[in-house]
């Protein structure tokens, strides 16, 4: 069966199967956009946590760390209740759209970006910041120095979050609806083909998803390497 799945994966890729490209493209579009937004918000949280040494910092970090384990189905269901026509944000008519899927993935990715990047910054941050401040830097400059110093670890937080959003199925299935040619992505297609009993196609899609993730991670890695050489 695995052998058949591999050969099927190759025929799908080589045959430039149009519906395959459609779902691959949508997967990348949704996850890419979600990752971008989550990175901005996650880094902002880290900066705010570092800038303002509030007494609530400990509990905030703990809450963020807890949210890294959010079950996707719960996120999907919560978002469904909010975005449903009968829910508080129903007037936006976002449910069953790619935008709703992006929001779900942002919610899942933000805690990971914030948690990992904060851990990175807080381990080296203090000494770097003290040094910067001693050298006459403003508070903002000091934070920039901390972020610059921790850039590889920050990148790791983004890579981690990328892994989560690309592999996630529970939330996007609920808020996206797995609508053919509209909200069907790699993971929901895999779930559906499994349900349909087309195991080879499901595994083939899984292989393609993994290969895709590998290429993107290779790109991330080369970026990290390039940064390190400088």
């Amino acid at each position: 069966m695995l052998q058949q799945a591999f050969s099927k994966a190759f025929t799908l890729i080589l045959g430039i199967d149009q519906s395959l490209f459609e779902i691959v493209f949508l997967s990348l579009k949704v996850s890419g956009l979600a990752l971008l937004i989550a990175t901005i918000i996650g880094f902002a949280i880290t900066i705010i946590l570092e800038l303002f040494k509030s007494p609530f910092k400990g509990i905030t970090v703990t809450i963020i760390n807890t949210f890294t384990g959010l079950p996707p189905v719960v996120v999907g269901l919560g978002l469904y209740i909010i975005l449903s026509r009968s829910g508080p944000l129903g007037f936006l008519s976002l449910l069953y759209s790619p935008a709703a899927m992006v929001i779900a993935q942002v919610i899942l990715a933000v805690p990971i970006v914030a948690s990992v990047s904060h851990a990175a910054v807080s381990s080296t941050g203090n000494s770097v910041r003290q040094t910067a401040l001693c050298l006459g830097a403003t508070r903002f400059q000091a934070i920039s120095a901390v972020l610059l110093d921790a850039r590889y670890s920050l990148m790791a937080s983004v890579i981690n979050a990328f892994g989560r959003v690309m592999a996630e199925v529970g939330a996007v299935l609920i808020v996206g609806g797995n609508i053919a040619h509209y909200t069907r992505v790699m993971t929901t297609a895999i779930a559906m083909e499994t349900d349909r009993g087309d195991f080879e196609l499901a595994i083939a899609l899984g292989i393609i998803l993994l290969a895709l993730s590998f290429c993107i991670n290779l790109f991330f890695y080369s970026m990290q390497r390039k940064g390190a050489k400088r």
């Binding site: 956009l33 937004i37 902002a44 449903s84 829910g87 797995n178 559906m192 349900d195 009993g197």
Partner: protein, 277 residues
């Protein structure tokens, strides 16, 4: 503050990125996984789109969930198979324009050796009584789907209430039809399935099960289509939904349904809409 600004910009960006996709005339239809998995929508929707240039987005869930989506106003039309609850919801004003439009039937499948010896029985109720009294392994959908509701109905008519907690032989799995059948095959258990899903799976996977009981009128599986009531949900696209319903129940739509075959050449649905006038 900066963070909030960024979030607002991001949401703006998001709306912009996807705004192009929501043009054209599109309606949403909530239906069941078994209908989708049979390939029915892939066959019928292009024909409908050709005639009317209306696109139909299908969201496949269980019957219970599909009805809930309609009640909440998240879809415009539903295609499900639980006539009693459909009629009740029409009565309560959630849906309008309900039509019977096609049917198939349920069958009781089990291990080829039929350890509980149910195959000679006359009614589904008798079959279930034997399974109950012999404590033969039975897998239940347990997901409030149309099939699950049908199963519960038969138990009710048999005046029996298997308890998933106490009765070890009764497994409530809470999964879709094909997964439930797979579990039944692995556990050498009986289960109840719609004929379409069974036919599709039997040819594809080497399952150690076979049909042991069929043909009882109580196993009749009527599919209905109905529109979300625009009085309850102003935004529901009733005019387009009504067009869809009219097409499905028209002579042309009915003929198309009758001609549908799954990828193994089995006819899965028999059209039975009442022609008007």
């Amino acid at each position: 503050m900066i963070a909030i600004l960024k979030i607002i910009t991001a949401i703006g960006l998001l709306t912009f990125c996807f705004s192009s996709t929501s043009s054209a005339e599109t309606i949403r239809c909530a239906s069941t996984t078994s209908t989708q998995n049979s390939g029915f929508f892939e066959y019928i929707l292009p024909l409908f789109e050709q005639d009317t240039s209306i696109k139909v987005h299908v969201i496949a869930v269980g019957t219970g969930a599909a009805l809930a989506l309609g009640k909440h106003g998240d879809v415009d039309v539903v295609i499900v198979h639980d006539k009693d609850s459909e009629l009740k919801l029409v009565q309560n004003g959630f849906f309008i324009g309900r039509h019977d439009f096609m049917f198939n039937d349920f069958v009781i499948i089990g291990p080829q050796t039929d350890p509980a010896e149910v195959s000679g029985q006359k009614t589904a109720v008798e079959v279930m009584k034997i399974i109950y009294s012999k404590k033969a392994a039975f897998v239940s959908r347990g997901d409030d789907s149309g099939t699950h509701r049908k199963e519960m109905n038969i138990w009710k008519n048999a005046s029996l209430t298997p308890d998933a907690k106490l009765d070890k032989w009764y497994m409530s799995v809470g999964q879709g039809m094909s997964k439930t059948i797979r579990i039944a095959a692995e556990k050498d258990a009986y289960t109840i399935t719609d004929r379409g899903t069974w036919l599709a799976m039997k040819d594809k996977e080497n399952l150690s099960l076979k049909i042991l009981f069929e043909g009882d009128p109580s196993l009749f599986n009527q599919y209905g289509v109905m529109a979300v009531n625009p009085v309850k949900h102003k935004h529901a696209k009733f005019a387009l939904a009504a067009k869809f319903i009219r097409w499905l129940t028209s002579v042309k739509g009915q003929k198309a349904i009758g001609n549908f075959e799954n990828s193994h050449g089995n006819s899965l649905f028999i059209p039975n809409a009442q022609q008007e006038g």
